[in-house]
């Protein structure tokens, strides 16, 4: 409310300033005054100086003086004439139209534009105040930690805390960086390496890349039994198309896990999918890296997140159509999202780049078979 009072006062004050000259009666008017004569007098003066300095010859100076004098006389006559002749009858008309314009334009322009772009309800939020009283402002808590780490980049514990928070807030690149810093300061541990690998996987859109796999293998060397490591390594096998090995790995993982392990359902889905040769259920293997984050979301949000990731993958595939893993993943994702038409289109495009006779082509067809997607020319 206070804000709107201020706005009203400001508008009224400015309008008043503009209205004042219109309302003020009388006032001096030198509408037709000119200062020509003054200028010419000045010129005469300079001419004299130049002449004294010898910059201009006597004869030339005489000529110039005559000319300026002629103009001076003309100008004086002109001014005299205009002064006596046409002093305007200063109408004291109220200029109602002009006043109306000011009174209407100021608030109209002001409010129209402001309401379309302004945020009257938002207070100023200086960083210092937010830092002093962060409340549950996650961004500020992160910023605080960042400020601390910028000062003390060797505080490994700080990086350890920040890395998963980044990950949960979708700042995957920062998360990977934080894990990397943590590893640099405190040395590799299974948890850090796994987190790092997870971030790398998320960065590449769910694909277990070579880098990520190496990190995972390093982690496995440190802690062979870690289920998270084993899950992603199995996932890597599955994505590479080494289905039997993947199946074995998932089954082993399921066997070693306690019955109430939270990851067990996910593992079982993969086992089921691989053994039946059918699709894995949503959110599917590629997004496993983000399942943790996705689990906390509403189903709608989750769907949107997946759709967003699929979209970005589709873009990337347009740039680089030779990304085999990408094609595998996007076809699967479309199937999961129930966009069969899109899945079929993607399969068709992928087959253009990877002919059905090639090793990759065969895998594509196998996938299509598994997902029950049909494309002409694939029916062999």
């Amino acid at each position: 409310m206070f804000f709107w009072i201020l706005v009203a006062v400001l508008t009224a004050a400015v309008a008043a300033v503009l209205l004042l000259p219109l309302l003020r009666a009388g006032g001096r008017s030198n509408v037709d005054d000119t200062n020509d004569a003054e200028v010419y007098r000045d010129q005469l003066e300079e001419l004299m100086r130049d002449e004294a300095a010898g910059l201009i010859g006597k004869a030339e100076a005489e000529l110039a003086r005559a000319e300026i004098a002629r103009r001076l006389i003309a100008a004086t006559a002109r001014e005299g004439a205009s002064r006596s002749g046409q002093h305007p009858a200063t109408t004291r008309r109220r200029n109602l139209l002009a006043q109306a314009l000011i009174i209407v334009v100021m608030p109209a322009v002001g409010l129209c534009l402001y309401l379309s772009a302004g945020h009257p309800e938002l207070p100023a939020q200086p960083l210092a105040a937010r830092l002093a009283n962060p409340g549950n402002d996650v961004n500020i808590l992160i910023a605080k930690a960042e400020a601390h780490l910028a000062e003390n980049p060797d505080d490994g514990a700080g990086w350890d805390i920040l890395a998963p928070i980044y990950y949960r807030n979708g700042r995957i690149e920062d998360s990977a960086n934080a894990y990397r810093e943590g590893i640099r300061v405190l040395g590799p541990s299974a948890a850090r390496l796994d987190g790092y690998a997870e971030a790398l996987i998320a960065l590449s859109g769910g694909i277990v890349t070579k880098d990520a796999r190496e990190v995972l293998q390093q982690s496995q060397a440190l802690d062979a039994g870690n289920p998270r490591t084993r899950f992603y390594l199995a996932l890597a096998l599955e994505q590479e198309g080494r289905r039997d090995e993947a199946l074995a790995a998932f089954e082993a993982l399921a066997k070693d896990s306690p019955a109430d392990a939270p990851w067990l359902p996910l593992v079982k889905r993969h086992v089921a999918g691989l053994s039946r040769g059918e699709q894995a259920k949503p959110p599917g293997n590629p997004d496993a890296g983000q399942v943790a984050a996705a689990d906390e979301m509403t189903p709608d949000d989750r769907r949107q997140m997946i759709a967003g990731m699929v979209e970005s993958l589709a873009d990337r595939l347009k740039e680089d159509p030779h990304n085999f893993e990408g094609w595998m993943r996007i076809i699967r994702s479309y199937a999961v999202l129930d966009q069969r038409q899109a899945a079929e289109d993607a399969l068709r495009t992928a087959l253009k780049n990877f002919p059905p006779q090639s090793e990759n082509g065969r895998q594509l067809l196998a996938l299509a078979d598994e997902l029950a997607i049909k494309v002409e020319g694939s029916g062999q």
Partner: protein, 150 residues
């Protein structure tokens, strides 16, 4: 001289000067314009050795090699063609593999190596030399903001 002649002389002098200036500009254009190419064009464009051109594209990953002293060789690619480039000097701060670059120079005679005397790289995260971006876009390589080719 009469007034009229004086005025004519002044105007004539002015026009003569302008004509000279126009000729100078045209001469300078014919001497110093550099055409812009991407590697894919060069197969068909047939650029004679010694002609100054600007070559734009992406620095192909894995091709940057330091030679003796400050000579660097790298390859510029637009995914259709690839041109080897040598450059002596200090590369710009933002010169990186896989990023956009514009090299200015000419082809050495009798070789397909492009000898650059100037190398420009993008200025920040989201900057891509406009020439390069346009051409790559035209060839189906999309570049939007950070989403550059990896």
């Amino acid at each position: 001289m009469t007034r009229k002649q004086k005025r004519l002389a002044v105007i004539g002098g002015g026009v003569g000067f302008l004509v000279a200036a126009v000729l100078l500009v045209m001469f300078a254009f014919s001497q110093s314009i550099a055409y812009f190419y991407v590697p894919g064009d060069l197969a068909t464009a047939n650029v004679p050795p010694g002609t100054r051109i600007r070559l734009g594209g992406l620095v192909e990953t894995g091709t940057v090699k330091r030679g003796e002293g400050s000579t660097v060789t790298f390859a510029v690619t637009d995914t259709i063609g690839t041109v080897p480039v040598t450059y002596t000097g200090i590369l710009p701060d933002l010169f990186r593999e896989g990023q956009g670059v514009v090299a200015e120079g000419s082809f050495a005679s009798g070789s397909s190596v492009f000898v650059a005397d100037t190398v420009l790289a993008k200025h920040d995260e989201t900057y891509m030399p406009k020439d390069v971006a346009d051409r790559l876009k035209a060839q189906g390589v999309t570049l939007s903001g950070k989403e550059t080719i990896r």
